[in-house]
Structures are given as C-alpha cells and as structure tokens.
C-alpha cells in the first residue's frame, strides 16, 4: 500500500496522461488489424482508460493536492480543465466510433485521437512558455492529421481542409513572434511571474499581447475571418465536425484563459483597450447570432452559435476589467460557459448528425415535425435548448453591483456591457426558440416518418438531459432560498 502511495505521489499530475499513453501503447499493437472484434475491443479499452483517467485526475488532486514545478502547474482550475478535456474526449470517441468504424484506418485514427487528447491535457497544465508553445503546435498538427484521416474518402474537401489549417499555422507563428517579444521584455518564463513583476509595464509586453490577441482571434476564426471555418464545417464528414467543435475550440479557450490575467491588467489601465474588447465582443455576438438566424443549414447554425459563445468569453474578460466581477468569478464564468457549451452542443449534435445521416441533408426543414414523431427525443432536446436560459447568470453580478451604487455613478461602459449582455441573451433565445418551434410545427407533407435511433443514443441523450435538469433545479432552489440540505456547496456561489 505504501508503495502504491509512493508511486501515486511521484506521478501526481501525470496519472491521467500515463493511463492514456498506456492505451496508445496497447492500441499500437493492433494498428494493422482491420477486424471488427479488435475495433470493438479497442473502443472499450480506450473508453475505460478515459474514464479511469477522468477519475484519477480528480482523485489524485483531492488526495495529493496541487503541484507545480518549472514546467507545469496543476491547481484547481487546471484540474477542472483537464476533466473537461477528458470528458469531451470521451464524447468524441463516441462520435468517431459511431461514424468511422467502417474506416479501414480506424485504429490508427484512434491512436491519433488519443495523442491529441494528451497534447490538450499538457497544454492545459503547461506553465512554461516553451511547453505551452510546443504543445500548441503539436496539438494543431495532430488535429490536422485527425481531420485529414477522417475525411480521407471525400475528395472535394481537401482544398478546404488546407485553407482551414493555414490559419492555425499563422496563429502558431504569431505566438512564436509574441514569445520572442516577451523574451525581449523579461527573461521570465511564465505568465503569472510576469503579472506579478514590475516588468509588466514594459512596452514589449503590451506589443506581444496585441500579437497574441491577433493570433487567438485567427485561431477562433472570429468575425470577419470565419470563411474557411464555415466552408470546412459545411462539407466535413460528421465526426470531424465534432473534433473541431469539442476539441479544437475548448483548447483555444483554455489558451485564452491563460492569457486573460495579462489582458485584463492592460484593459484596466487603458480605456481604449477596454472599448476595443467591447467592440470585438459585441461584433462576435451580433455576427454569430444574426448569421445563425439567417441560415437554414443546421451545421452552419451550430458553428455560428460557437462563434457566439466565444464572443461571450471575450465579454467575460471585459466584465472583469470593468470591475463587475472578480478574477476568480471570471474564471468560474469561463468554466461555466465551457460546460454549458459542452453539455448542450454534444447531445444536440449527436441527434442532428444522426438525423442528417438518415436524410442525407442538413437543412432545417428536416427537423420539422420531429418533436411530433419522436416525442421523447423532442422533449429532451427542448430541455437541452432551454438550458441556454442558464446564460442569464451573467446578469447576477450586475444586479449586485448596481444595487450598491448610486444610479449616476454607474459608468457608461458598465451600462453598455449590460446592454450587450441583454442583446446577446435575446438573440440566443430567438435562435433557440426558432429550432424548438420547428420541432413542433406541423410537417409540410402530412406525416413525417419516425426516425429510428439506436437505443444507446436514447440513454446518451437522457444522461445529458438529467444532468441539465438537476443543475437547473438546484440553481432555482438556491435562487429561491430553499435549503434542501443535501450538499454543502452552492452552485451560484461556487468559487475557487
């Protein structure tokens, strides 16, 4: 027992990574095999290893505590990020094995996918500039390889894949340049050191941050540069869309969360930066929601809504710099947003993609009358869409902030922020209700035939619905001050 404790102490932040590497190692023995039984065995093995990694990640953190050295830091926030990455990887495995099991390179794709997960974990817990940079580049590389491997059979998509991935390369190169400027300002090697030192007023740091900002902007394909992203998403094979949404985007968000401390420092000092951030957030939100409203293709709707949510991350940073929320609650807001994105989009996409597979087009008219023919799924999806109402928690801090101060003392920026949030909320609801109304509309051609889903999809979606319902009821009870006394902590006041 002591020996086991010793090992677990030695390998503290790496336990989940070691488990995943073990899975890669085992699956590398079966690389050439094309038998279905082997594929099933490997899917089971990898999902078990992912669940084990998820468990170990939380368990080791609780039992041993935070960890940091020259290269890595592993604290509360990082633990949650790693858990989110592993959770979305588990769902990605579901998507990949649902749509790609007939691929003759399936096992190789699985190893690529596991390696991308490992890279993402390293990126989340990295602290040193060099480790951040190298893992970012290799993560982009592996995602590129994964998407090309998944789309191997489709010829016409290839130029679009290339057009898409030239942008992340530019991101990586700009990061390289930005780090060189940071090196010129100070020889510190991680962001938190810079934040605490006096070097932060150095102009090179500000310049480097501007370049990082441009790089992140290009990474997310924010407005008006979203062309290649939209084109790729429209033509992609089903599971590779999931890879882009549930692996590529969250990692970018975690990258942004590493930088947001520095950003907010500069925004606080300078009003010009604050207004630039506000304008960017406003444009992202507006463009995302209007774009989603104007299109009839489900894939495009989902991808626009992703851009919308990324606009909200930028909004969080500007809310922090306006002094409305603290640093801790900004991190919590970001995490909550990521969770909201994951828990709503994964089941939505799982259902819509299977509808698309059975009808061969992604037009919104396909889901017309869906709620009438598949009542159970329709109700589930409605609950999931309504989970976006949870977005309203952004208004909470404003109420707290405004109630304490005189009406005349409220700054212009704060009012604009509140306005932006209100507009975003309205647009989001419009988009959600547009789809919900489509569900329960009368179909054009009389009776719509019932789409038969695999049985595990029902269980899968029900799981998400239950999680959302529990969270919603919990939050409601807390808002209404009803104490049920099951758990000690409160969702609305959770902080690190």
């Amino acid at each position: 027992m002591n020996f086991l404790l010793y090992i677990s102490e030695k390998t503290n932040p790496f336990q989940s990574i070691i488990v995943l590497s073990g899975a890669i190692f085992i699956s590398s023995f079966f690389v050439i095999s094309e038998r279905r039984a082997v594929k099933r065995f490997l899917i089971t093995l990898i999902s078990i290893s992912l669940i084990l990694a998820f468990y170990l990640n939380i368990y080791s953190f609780i039992s041993i505590g935070s960890f940091s050295n020259f290269l890595l830091s592993f604290e509360n926030l990082q633990m949650i990020e790693v858990s989110i990455i592993i959770f979305s990887a588990l769902n990605l495995l579901f998507f990949i094995s649902m749509y790609g099991i007939d691929n003759s390179h399936f096992i190789k794709i699985l190893s690529l996918f596991l390696f991308s997960t490992i890279c993402a974990i390293f990126l989340a817990i990295a602290r040193n500039f060099l480790l951040i940079f190298v893992t970012l580049v290799i993560f982009i590389l592996v995602i590129f390889q994964l998407i090309t491997a998944l789309n191997l059979k489709i010829d016409r998509i290839r130029p679009y894949i290339m057009g898409y991935f030239l942008r992340p390369i530019l991101t990586a190169i700009l990061f390289f340049f930005g780090f060189s400027l940071f090196y010129g300002a100070t020889d510190f090697k991680d962001f938190s050191q810079i934040l605490q030192s006096e070097y932060i007023s150095n102009p090179l740091i500000a310049l480097g941050l501007i370049i990082f900002g441009v790089a992140v902007y290009l990474y997310f394909f924010l407005f008006p540069f979203q062309g290649p992203y939209m084109k790729l998403v429209k033509r992609n094979e089903l599971s590779s869309n999931a890879v882009i949404w549930f692996s590529y985007f969250p990692v970018g968000i975690f990258m942004l969360m590493k930088l947001d401390g520095l950003y907010s420092f500069f925004i606080e000092k300078n009003n010009l930066y604050a207004s630039i951030f506000l304008i960017i957030a406003f444009i992202c939100i507006l463009a995302g929601s209007i774009g989603a409203f104007k299109t009839n293709s489900i894939r495009r709707i989902i991808s626009f809504l992703f851009l919308f949510f990324i606009g909200i991350f930028i909004l969080n940073i500007s809310m922090f710099s306006a002094g409305i929320i603290t640093r801790l609650s900004m991190a919590w807001f970001n995490i909550a947003n990521t969770l909201l994105m994951m828990f709503s989009f994964i089941p939505i996409y799982s259902i819509f993609s299977s509808i698309e597979k059975s009808t061969d087009s992604d037009s919104i008219s396909n889901i017309r009358g869906f709620g009438r023919s598949n009542i159970y799924m329709g109700i589930n999806l409605t609950v999931i869409f309504l989970s976006w109402l949870g977005f309203a928690y952004h208004i909470g801090p404003f109420i707290k902030y405004f109630s304490g101060t005189n009406f005349l003392e409220i700054g212009v920026i704060n009012v604009i922020l509140l306005l932006v949030i209100a507009i975003a909320f309205i647009f989001l609801l419009i988009n959600a209700f547009r789809i919900i109304i489509q569900f329960f509309k009368k179909p054009l051609t009389g009776v719509v035939e019932k789409i038969v889903f695999p049985r595990f999809l029902y269980i899968y979606v029900t799981f998400f619905t239950l999680v959302i319902l529990i969270a919603a009821i919990w939050g409601l009870l807390e808002i209404l001050n009803v104490d049920i006394g099951i758990m000690n902590f409160k969702i609305t006041e959770l902080s690190f």
Binding site: F144, T148, M162, K234
Partner: protein
C-alpha cells in the same frame, strides 16, 4: 515584410514564404535580445530549436498533404488564385451552396 506578404500574396507558395519571414524575424528578435540584454542565455536557443522544429514539422505535414492528396486541378487553382483573407458574402449571410 511577412505581414505584407500575407496580404499581397496571390498564391500558396507566397503564403508559405511570408510565414517564413515572420519566423525569421522572430528568430532575429530572440538572438538579438539574448545577445544584448541577457549575456547570451541558453533559453532562447532552446526555444528556437523546439519552436522551429515543431513549426516546420507542421508546415511540412501540410505541404506533404497538398503534394500527395490534392488533385492537380486544385493545385493549379491554389497556385493561380489563393488569398488567405478572402471574405465572401456567403461566409456569414445566407447559405453556402456546395
């Protein structure tokens, strides 16, 4: 110059060339700062080695993919008329027909 190249470029090779210029300028930055500010510390060298290795490996993979997988007609199209920042109306308004 790299930034200029990205906006000016009309074919894919120019895009890669301008990428290289940004990398080169970053390398010059690293070496300069290391020599004049920090008495030639080792950190920049290691950063350059790892950074350039990974970046060039990424670019190599993409070029290899283009070389191996794209049709010759697509390649011609890439060579003739390719802009990194091309904004069309269908990107955010209305439909994108395949």
């Amino acid at each position: 110059m790299g930034v200029f190249g990205i906006f000016y470029s009309r074919d894919i090779i120019s895009v890669f060339i301008s990428y290289q210029f940004i990398i080169i300028s970053a390398v010059i930055n690293f070496l300069n700062f290391s020599q004049f500010l920090y008495q030639s510390s080792l950190w920049d060298k290691i950063f350059i080695i790892f950074g350039i290795t990974s970046l060039y490996f990424l670019m190599f993979c993409i070029i290899y993919y283009i070389y191996l997988k794209l049709d010759i007609l697509d390649k011609e199209a890439l060579y003739r008329d390719f802009k990194l920042f091309k904004i069309t109306r269908s990107d955010w308004w209305g439909e994108d027909n395949i």
